[in-house]
Structure formats: C-alpha cells, structure tokens
Subunit: 382 residues, 2 copies
DNA sequence: TTGTACGCGTTATCAG
DNA sequence: CTGATAACGCGTACAA
C-alpha cells in the first residue's frame, strides 16, 4: 500500500490533523511545521487518495463527457473532445468518457447516482434525436448533475414540435415565430429548456448565419434548383439550418422544394444514398447543401460515381470544416465551426460554475458561436 | 443527498450489513429478505457511491487511457480510443482519459499515486519517442499500475539503441540480430522490456510484414528509386518499418539510400516539408513510402503543389488505412492496421488480468496484429 | 499551535 | 440468518 497521510504523520511524529492542515494551507499551523511537512510529503511521494478525498469532500474533481458509442463521424467528435480535455486538464479535473450504447437511460442513471462525476458535458453529435437528448437531460437534471450540451441549441419540446411541423413542409410565413433567428452570434436570453421546463445550458454554432452564408454564396453563383441533405437525427441543428436555407431562398424569390430534401441519418456513408436520391430526380438540383461535411463528402463521391462533375455539373457544400474537407477533390466549400473552441468554452464555463457556491451560480449559458464561410473548389464554377 | 445504504436499511427496518449482504449476493441471507431488499433498492433508486466502494474495496473499476494532449493525427487515435472504450463499457469499467501535456512525468505520478484508476492503457501515438514512453512505463511500473502499450512494440532501451544505430545508416548485415523479424503475426516470447528490465505488455501492428508488403508491391511495379518518409518520434514502429523496407529492397538487389530518408515529426503537415525535401533531390525517388497515411496525404499534396503527378510521376503509399486515405485523390495505397480491434483487444486483456488474482496473472501480452495491403490508385501506374 | 474525535458510505468479519 | 463493529483515507469542528 502506498504512503498515506497517517504514514506521513507517524514519520514526522505529528498528528494526522496537523499534517492535513499543513498540506491544505490552513493558517493555524507554525510556518516551520508546515515547511517540515511539505518537505517530507515530497520526499515520501505523498499523494492523497482520490477516493478518500471524494468521500470526504463530496466532490470528485472529475468531469464526465457523454457521447455515443457509435463513432461514425469521428472528426467532428474529436474536435469537441480535445477542447473539453484541454479545459479539464487546465482546471486539474480528470475527464471520464462515457460512451453510451444500448439503454442509455439506465447507464446514465447509474453514473449519476454513483456520483462518479461532478458535472457532465453532453456531446450531442450522434446522440440520436431530440427524444434521446431530452431523456439524457432529464436524468441529469433529476439527479442534480450540472451539465451543458455541446454542439446544438436546446429548445423546449413543445416548441420543438411546433417548429418541426412548420419547418418540414416548408409552407406558411416562417419569419414571424422565430425571433431569435438572424440575431448576431452572442449570448441569448434563456429560451432553451428541457422537457421539464428548466433552461438548459448549451453552446451551439450559429446555424442560421452559417446556412444563410452558404445559401447566399450559391445564389450569388446563379444557382436555381437547391437540394438539402438533412440530418433529422440532429434535430435542432437540422431545423435551424433548413429553416435558414428556406428563408434565404424565399428572400431571393426561390423555394426549397420538399422533394429536394433528402435525409442522411447518422450512419456510415448515409450521404451517398441520400445524394443518389437527389440525382434521380427528373430535374436534379444544381446546388446541394449538406447538413455537414461528412455527408457532403459522401455526396461528392455519389455524384462522381454517376459521372456527374463537381462543381461543373453540380455544386456541393458542407458544414463544419473538418480536416477531410480540405483533402477531398474537389476541395469542399464549407462553413468553419469552431468545435474545439466550443468544447473548451463549455467545459470552462461548467467548471467555473462548480467552483462557485450554489447560490452564486449564474444563469445557464446559452451561447452561439459565429462561423465563417470557407470557399473552396466544390462550389466554384470556373 | 441521494439515498444511501443506511437510508435503505432504515426504510426496511434492517441493519446496514444485512442490506449490504443481500445486495452483494452473500449466501447467508434469507431469500425473502433478499427479495425485499432488492425490491426496495430499485424503488428508492439506490446506487452505491463509487467513491465509497473504491475506498472500501481498494478498487476503482476505472480504466485510464494515456494519450498526448496534442491531437495532430486524430483519425488514428480515435480508432484506438473507440476500441478501448468498447471493451471498458462491456466490462462495466469507466474510462478516464488523460491527455498529458507538459511535464507528463509529474502528472502521471500524481494520477498513479492518487489511485484514480486500476490500470492504464498507453496510446503510444504521438507520445514523443522512446524516452518519453519509457519514462511513462517506468512510472506505471514503479507505482504498480498494470498497463499495456497500444500501437507499437516495446523493447529494452539498450537493444533499442543498438538497433537505432544499426538501422539509421542502413549499413552492415542487418539480418542476423533481429530474430523476431519475419515471423508470422502471433503472440511472441517476452522480449519487450521497460528500461528497468521488466517485460512490457503491448499490442502492435506487424510492421515488418506491412512494410514488406508495401515494398514488394512497389518493386513489382518496377520502381527503382525509393524514398522513406520516417517518423523518428515513433521510435519502435519507425525502426521496424524502415528496417523491413531496407531488407526487402536488399533482397531485390536495391538500396534505401540515407539521402532518401526524410523525417516527418509528429506535427501538423510535417509530411509536406519532408516530401519537398525528397522532391528537391537531384534524382527524386519514383516511389515513396510514408510512415503513415497522414504523412502520405501531406506528401501527395506536396507533390501536386510542385506539378508532380501521382501516381504517374511518383508513387506514394502510406500505412494505417485511415478514412482519409479513401477520400484523397488519388486514393491512397496503404496497409490496413486494425487499430480499433487492437485497442479493444488490449483493454480486454488488461481488464481480464485485473479480474485474476495477482498470482494467477499470465505473462505479459505481446501481440502483433496482422495487416492487409490495400491497393488504391496512388501507386498504380496505368 | 497541536491533537482528539468524528463522519463521509461501503463492505467484511465476527458474534449472536 | 441477522446485526454490531471495524476499517478504508482524509478533512475539519472542537477541545486542549
């Protein structure tokens, strides 16, 4: 067994409590004693057991990161992960990775009740739709585990359903019931909620500005027929992006026809089949916006497999700016989303909240990060 | 505060110890009592605190995964990680991710002494050379933390130096002092050692067979001048791969000239500059083998930037078979290394060892995984 | 300024 | 079959 505080005390001829106080910076200990204790502590390589500290302090100094076991789109995931890891490391927190597979509810409940972590980062990527997300959030909320969602905004489920119904058929005047849209990227008032009605903290990309930038870029190139490769799995991001495309097109006197929306679920190469469906239309689109880069890359391959040239015959753009977007030929036009920074920001905020006394904690963070259009070859007709 | 075992006992009118025994499957408890306890436990959502169990059992049921904070080659890392995560999940272990940055020695010592994990997976990728690796292994060994290296073989440092000196200038008869080379991929006798002389467990790709397959593939295409983009950072893998290339070329009456070896350290886009150096040679190579796919992809870009056509003017091949290898144009010829399976295998073995009593533990695992040549366009002259 | 005593939540041993 | 008790290692109010 390694050296404990009582070993140290015995070795020094002091009591355990004196040693503890010396180590923890209490003022009621003689300078000389403290010095002796610190020296001996280093000599004997003393390090308090994590479990003992946790039990006593009711604080694990560990941060959880919740993500799907299925890792289909790893390039995006790893960026968030690295950011979170960096923030955790800086704060002296360990990072426990929870890859939830089947029956996420039960495993999450176990984790929370076992009090394995002080707080939880929820990587929404690939978590599987609003239902799954809200289920996880409800568990975290019920078990009093502070948390934040990384990668998408979170709305109350009622308003979600409304938006979904309105967004899907692309009818009506969608401009009125969505006041947050079109605002600059910044902290927003607390509109995000879990299904229990409590506001949920999140960091998300500015989907509206991002999708608008892509659409305008394609409009400027003179495109007429637009397709959208959607990701209904990723509910809130998908809704916001599709909505922004629709609004921008409407503003230019154009439409995103329902037939030109093809779903690419969170699964390997799903973008390939989705793109094929668009290409089989009587009049295929001349410009395709993919929900993200992974899908866009599949779409480029699908087009090339059908001898459809990109960008000459069809423009394809994505979102995220993952490393592969630079690698594919033609290089992919996309929107850069600062995923790593988002992960780091979210974790930093969460850890800062933990350091505050319960009452002093600020309102939940709901921040959108601004994005940047990255124009590459896949959308540039020469 | 959540429900504890004493709450449960009070609620049932039983003693804490009876409840504990009922929950932990002891035989000396009435069937009826057990049933009642189990029911109430579910009703009240009882879950033992992780920290309390750890303190009592001296066992965390957590697995550590050590990896570099700098994530330059994430595609390979994430494959290992996913495999490890899967094995951990299956065994009911949590996975603590340790991204070591500056001063890895101290942070690793802290982790070990705090007894945060029962065992540690060491992802060697990007960890920074044999010195760093052996330092980490020595700490783990000294602190009695069971561990395994994933991604490269580990030799004793003395033999390392010997091999390094011999491997570097590519002189002498290298065939004699390397008996393990050329054997089929399987468990090997304990030759891997830490600097203290103890054998170190590892799972590694069959570098020799992999590099030989690539070299033979290029020889068959009639190539004469070979270049190697090395990764001296990743010592053991690099030595084995370079050595196998040299031997295979010698066998065909050819040489890997020292001038045709260019180093691409673990840093962003380092393969680009390394490739440029090869292209600036008076007689550039006609075939380039890169240490891994990330480097190979950089190399392709470097060639294309100089109007050198791949594969017509120069063949470029990599190793690992990361997703990007399929995406780049021309698609990259490479060798598939089953990284995910390796991570899963390593973690499974380590966790199985933990389940065994100390004395029953088997010899350290030293396993090489067989690889498979994946021929794509980047090496096929039409 | 130092030491004593207790509790954090759990499990194992031993006595009843 | 059940329950009292000790112990895991640490931090802290309180007493000396």
């Amino acid at each position: 067994m390694a050296v404990t505080i009582s070993d140290l005390a015995k070795y020094l001829g002091l009591s355990v409590s004196t040693v503890s106080k010396a180590l923890n910076g209490y003022s009621d200990v003689a300078d000389k004693t403290r010095e002796v204790v610190l020296t001996a502590s280093r000599e004997l390589n003393y390090q308090p057991r994590s479990a003992a500290r946790t039990l006593r302090l009711q604080r694990t100094e560990k941060l959880g990161i919740l993500h799907p076991l299925k890792g289909y789109e790893s390039e995006a995931f790893i960026s968030y992960f690295r950011g979170v890891a960096k923030a955790a490391e800086r704060c002296g927190y360990s990072l426990i990775s929870y890859a939830v597979g089947s029956d996420p509810q039960r495993s999450l409940e176990r984790i929370c009740r076992a009090r394995e972590v002080d707080a939880m980062i929820v990587i929404s990527l690939g978590l599987g739709g609003a239902h799954q997300l809200h289920m996880a959030l409800d568990v975290l909320s019920a078990e009093n585990v502070p948390h934040i969602v990384v990668g998408q905004p979170v709305y109350a489920q009622q308003s979600l359903l409304t938006k979904h119904h309105m967004g899907q058929p692309a009818t009506g005047q969608p401009a009125t019931d969505q006041p947050a849209m079109g605002q600059p990227a910044t902290d927003q008032p607390a509109t995000g909620q879990s299904s229990t009605g409590k506001a949920v903290a999140y960091v998300a990309p500015d989907n509206t500005a991002a999708a608008r930038a892509l659409t305008n870029h394609l409009l400027a190139a003179g495109h007429e027929r637009f397709g959208y490769l959607s990701r209904h799995d990723d509910t809130y991001n998908d809704i916001e992006r599709q909505r922004a495309i629709e609004m921008t097109l409407q503003h230019a006197g154009k439409q995103l026809e329902p037939a030109y929306i093809s779903d690419a679920p969170y699964a390997p190469y799903s973008g390939h089949a989705a793109m094929q469906r668009l290409l089989e239309l009587p009049k295929p689109p001349t410009a395709v916006i993919a929900f993200n880069d992974h899908i866009a890359i599949d779409a480029i391959h699908a087009a090339q497999a059908q001898q459809v040239r990109v960008p000459d015959d069809i423009a394809i753009v994505g979102m995220d700016n993952i490393p592969s977007a630079r690698i594919i030929t033609p290089a992919l036009t996309t929107v850069d989303i600062p995923m790593r920074a988002m992960g780091e920001y979210a974790a930093s905020w969460l850890l800062a909240q933990l350091a505050l006394p319960l009452l002093a904690r600020s309102e939940v963070l709901q921040k959108t990060f601004s994005t940047e259009l990255v124009t590459r070859i896949s959308s540039v007709t020469s």
